[in-house]
Symmetry: C2
Subunit: 204 residues, 2 copies
């Protein structure tokens, strides 16, 4: 019973949008409230602090948008190396759309916010670590399947997954800093190189 509201959702969306396009530190609670069209009193009704909101926004974004996407790309019904290639291809295409629509390549909010706040706020750091580790496990699982099928050499799948993930986030970071899509173009082939997958045209 009582009054109904979508203010919480509006605040989560506004926060993610502002923090992603600018940065965590530069975005004020007032700015988030203004963008959401919600008064500050209501903000403090739903959240304790900006950090609290950021954690909730990252979580909400992962659960409702990120996870379904990753689940799709890394579906077990797709061949293991195809999952990885498709994912990296999609990374490029999604950021391409973002550049066209927003005028800027914004990369991965989780990684950007994580790098910015990890020495300052434990709550955000833990949530970011959690999401990034979940994402890395998609790679890990696909690599294990590829190894089981003899598509790539055996080895430490977890370590390889960390490398692929580093390539992924590093490329997105460069694309963001330079606002340049070309940093994302070779991702699929580079990933195959890292995994030691046989090329169509053998190297030597």
């Amino acid at each position: 019973m009582g009054r109904t509201s979508n203010a919480k959702e509006l605040l989560l969306a506004a926060a993610l949008d502002l923090i992603w396009s600018r940065s965590y530190g530069v975005v004020t609670i007032d700015a988030i409230c203004e963008k959401a069209g919600v008064k500050k009193g209501s903000f403090y009704y739903f959240f304790e602090s900006k950090a609290d909101l950021a954690v909730a926004a990252l979580n909400e974004s992962w659960e409702s948008r990120g996870k379904p996407k990753w689940d799709g790309y890394f579906s077990a019904s797709t061949a293991p190396l195809e999952r990885i290639r498709n994912f990296f291809k999609a990374t490029h295409d999604i950021q391409e759309i973002m550049q066209k629509e927003q005028g800027a390549i914004l990369g991965c909010p989780c990684f950007s916010v994580g790098s910015e706040t990890c020495t300052q706020d434990d709550g955000i750091r833990e949530k970011v670590q959690d999401i990034l580790q979940r994402q890395t496990r998609y790679f890990e699982s696909a690599i294990r399947d590829a190894q089981a099928e003899g598509l790539v050499p055996a080895g430490d799948a977890a370590a390889k997954a960390k490398c692929l993930f580093a390539l992924f986030e590093g490329s997105l970071g460069q694309a963001r800093i330079h606002n340049d899509l070309s940093y994302l173009r070779d991702l699929p082939e580079t990933a195959m190189d890292i995994l030691g997958a046989k090329r169509l045209q053998p190297v030597s």
Copy 2:
């Protein structure tokens, strides 16, 4: 003539230290002044703004510490692939020392600050782009030399360099977020995989 001072250097050092260990956005001019032991009036005597100081600090850090190091690792008197392997090995070792001394792996200040501020401040973005592009060229040059010596397959050296740099920055970012050195351990071998360098024990 006139009064002498090292306040400018103190401010540059304090700013880099604080911004690197925390973030650009969270560090105030007052905090930088306090850390440097310099009054705010003096700050504004030397710099126009925090962004102005940040640009100067990044530049100073690159010129006096970064560039000499990179010049050393990528010396033409070292074999091309050795340059890259040594560099990545050193990346690990330097961050290991940092973790022991400071309690945290801080990664690359240029990339962190760049990702944080690139949509907000043109001055910082341009300086960061400049430094990152210079660094990428060290890879590019080493890759070209490796290609000329037949150590790696021919191909677009600039594109490969971007990939190596993405691996580098992505790994540092993960190491920072998780405060975990293991993200840096496989860098040398992964770099060789990306370049298609022949392994000691061939893959297949």
